[in-house]
Symmetry: C2
Subunit: 285 residues, 2 copies
């Protein structure tokens, strides 16, 4: 496995691979890798000839008062995990190397990026879109793997690729969960023992909403959301931020569920702000 | 010469060329090609193995009340001129092909893009940066040729490439002028005969400013600007919008000229809004 912190070397390695006829899979991360990332890297390594992982805690996507400084960083462990999962290249640039001169260019995504996470974290998705555009430009043509856990990010990145005609195929990777359902997240490290016990409540609430739609045939989204709220209240340490039933394509809230929908949830558990989501589909009556 | 309106075919043609070991030169235009464009295409064809020209009147870079509808379009003449200048590929997409779904993604350039032309044409450079990012993504690694006539655009594009690490080398092409000094521009077609006679006044004012700096040793930018204003007033049909002495890198106005500077000018002549610029350098005293 080759590890580089130099943007030009990273570009050159991937370009050489393509020139040699190899396909490139890219998994952009902020490090603090866990078994969810490992699954994504394994898939990239399985589906492409070269799996590249980027590790960069992108300051542009953190707001004031967020956890940029506290965000877990442990490059040694990350490199071991990436290598074990089959990565051939790891790119771990410094902030200086990425944004040497303070960048003037921002990539923004209207509408899509302004609701849910975007409403709570102003500028977050502009930061994501900007760094992803830059990482894609450095990487060149590739298949990029993004986790479904950050569902809105996935939709934003798909739109970015479409609108800017970036030479990238985006693949969604299923969320990896603990045995009790908690979605793997680098921010789970912030949870104390009791918080950890209650944190899967977000997922249980999503399942309650999904059951309402798929098993009880509830079509009224307000009733589904009520069901999710009720489920969350069973975990007093989980402070709900939002629970919603949305269109899977544009993340607009739906009134009546018909066909495929996405259930989104976000909340705070102690110091951790956690998000999660599941697909739910209403069969025709 | 291959002409295509299909983004995917355009990408594929350039990718094939690169795979065959050929270098690609790109000249993005809005059509209405003139001898200035022809010089840029000839240079691209001379310096690269394949010269590609894009012709697209980009609605995103026109404001309300600007001349998007009136902007001259004559594809047949453009294709003849491009071929004669040595273009191997011309890409002339429809608005539908470029922006089929109304685009949500915007590429913005702070600071740089907000003064001079950006102040008079709000959103103009966001439109430029967005379409150029998309054209670069479609074209892939290349050398891109931009005219110095649109000097601020050139600086914005350079910054775009740097900040987003786009795999593009930007080359500046000198302004081509009529015998009387008028910079070639597609918008010169809007000039009536008397307006055409006075329109070079913008360039003559630039030369007056350049002489003040280079021959008379004037260092006070306010005096240089005054000289330019005085020169413009000799052409009553030229309505000055701005004349400025700026740093060539970031387009900030300078107070004292020392070393290289750029003189910018913009004005209206009848229905035409024209811009021009020249380099000027103050030698050490």
């Amino acid at each position: 496995m080759i590890v580089t912190s130099q943007p030009s070397e990273f570009s050159e390695l991937l370009e050489q691979a393509r020139r040699a006829g190899r396909t490139v899979g890219l998994h952009p991360t902020m490090g603090a890798l866990h078994a969810g990332h490992a699954a994504n890297v394994r898939r990239a390594a399985l589906e492409c000839d070269l799996a590249a992982v980027t590790i960069f805690v992108n300051p542009l996507q953190f707001g004031p008062g967020e956890d940029f400084e506290a965000y877990p960083r442990d490059l040694g462990v990350d490199l071991e995990l990436a290598e074990a999962a089959g990565a051939g290249v790891v790119f771990c640039p410094s902030t200086e190397a990425m944004y040497g001169r303070s960048p003037l260019v921002t990539v923004g995504v209207k509408g899509l990026a302004e609701r849910w996470e975007g409403a709570r974290r102003p500028g977050h998705f502009d930061g994501v879109a900007t760094v992803v555009t830059k990482l894609f430009a450095l990487a060149g043509p590739c298949t990029a793997y993004f986790g479904e856990k950050d569902y809105q990010q996935l939709v934003v990145v798909r739109r970015l690729v479409e609108d800017l005609s970036l030479p990238v195929r985006v693949e969604a990777c299923p969320t990896v969960r603990e045995a009790d359902g908690l979605a793997l997240s680098s921010r789970n490290r912030y949870l104390g023992p009791e918080e950890r016990e209650e944190a899967p409540g977000l997922y249980w609430a999503l399942l309650a909403g999904k059951r309402a739609i798929e098993e009880q045939g509830v079509a009224d989204a307000a009733l589904v959301v009520e069901e999710m709220h009720r489920a969350v209240r069973r975990q007093p340490l989980v402070e709900l931020e939002y629970a919603a039933v949305v269109s899977p394509e544009d993340l607009e809230p739906v009134d009546e569920v018909s066909g495929p929908a996405r259930l989104l949830i976000a909340g705070r558990v102690g110091l951790a702000r956690l998000i999660d989501n599941v697909a739910a589909e209403k069969e025709d009556a």
